[in-house]
Symmetry: C3
Subunit: 158 residues, 3 copies
């Protein structure tokens, strides 16, 4: 691959991840489905957990979800009952070929009740991801979230 093709792919994947965050926070579930590959895997086992230095994970275990339809079912249950802001930072994207890429994205998320005020969670972490060029666009093939810090203001996930 030449340098230009590589840069174009990096920019497209950066904007792909931005669409993921924006469609999530604006509750655009139709737009959000477009960011995932048909057989995407979403590994959010650690979405509600943090790991004290030298200790074991603290917090409830989230699911590993296989397939875009199942991912959207899961997101469709939680998104409409929250007001949120999810941000991605420091995209380290590596293009492997014209159809394969992987990356690490730093993140912060603020999730509240629909009143925009009552806190649900506020966290920081990294997404470790694989991307594939499928059906004419780059899409998320696999996404695993690891936490650095999280303040969980509810026990409903236990």
């Amino acid at each position: 691959m030449d340098a230009l093709t590589r840069l174009v792919a990096i920019e497209e994947i950066r904007q792909l991840k931005s669409r993921y965050f924006r469609t999530m926070d604006t509750h655009d579930l139709e737009g959000m489905a477009e960011v995932f590959c048909k057989d995407a895997v979403l590994d959010v086992r650690n979405v509600f957990r943090y790991v004290p230095l030298g200790g074991d994970p603290v917090g409830p275990t989230g699911p590993v979800i296989h397939g875009r339809d199942n991912i959207m079912d899961w997101l469709g249950q939680s998104l409409p009952v929250t007001s949120s802001a999810h941000h991605g930072h420091g995209h380290e994207i590596t293009i492997v070929s014209e159809t394969e890429a992987h990356g690490v994205i730093a993140m912060e998320d603020v999730v509240r009740r629909p009143d925009c005020k009552s806190p649900v969670l506020h966290g920081y972490g990294h997404y470790y991801e694989r991307y594939a060029f499928e059906d004419g666009a780059w899409r998320i093939a696999e996404s695993r979230l690891e936490r650095l810090l999280i303040d969980l203001h509810t026990d409903e996930f236990n």
Copy 2:
């Protein structure tokens, strides 16, 4: 337009928006004037408002300001009496032609009194923007801020 011209324009607009945030937080009003087109429109009607899910907007209504000089007058009144950090994330920039572009930028802002401690507001949202290549550089032609979440610690804007 070829791919390289498009990538150069995206990078210039990304850095343009970063200058907007940096000049705001460092109180560099002269540098900030450079980021706007002469006839720029700044729509901050929702800068102090949030919208609970399924509800009406809560909070005072901000202005729609026409023209760089009026924009800088308005900013020149508020910036010198605050200490702030404004950050932009997830730039989704689309180049329409060699002189026209539009984009969505996620944002977070923390505004405090000049003592750097007393809170004024802390919010999250998106800028919906148009850009134009004018007088030798990309500049902001139109900017509208929509909020996801905001904590307003003062009633002076009512």
Copy 3:
């Protein structure tokens, strides 16, 4: 330099700074050493200080550290006893030549005790940096941190 070479360098430096933040927060000291030039200078005199408008700096003075080995010694003392999230935003990177560049990066950092809960500091600011292409990669040659806001929850740095 042509436009493509310049864009490639900007992307590499953006990812370089992301590696700096990620290796810091994941305590990957070996990976972190790679981001610095051998003779790098780290100026963190203001890392714990904020400046009220029209006033003098408030807070303890940090060090100016010369050389990668000394920088890693200093970081190696503080990183293992914190849980943290450091994010970079709004990269304004200027390529001067094929081996020299400079930039300004907006930042936010959240530092806590190893329990991931007890706060140490939460701040905002800008990195003013120089980069050099050395030993086959872009690396940080000089980095100076200036604060906009900081909440310091300890007096151990005094």
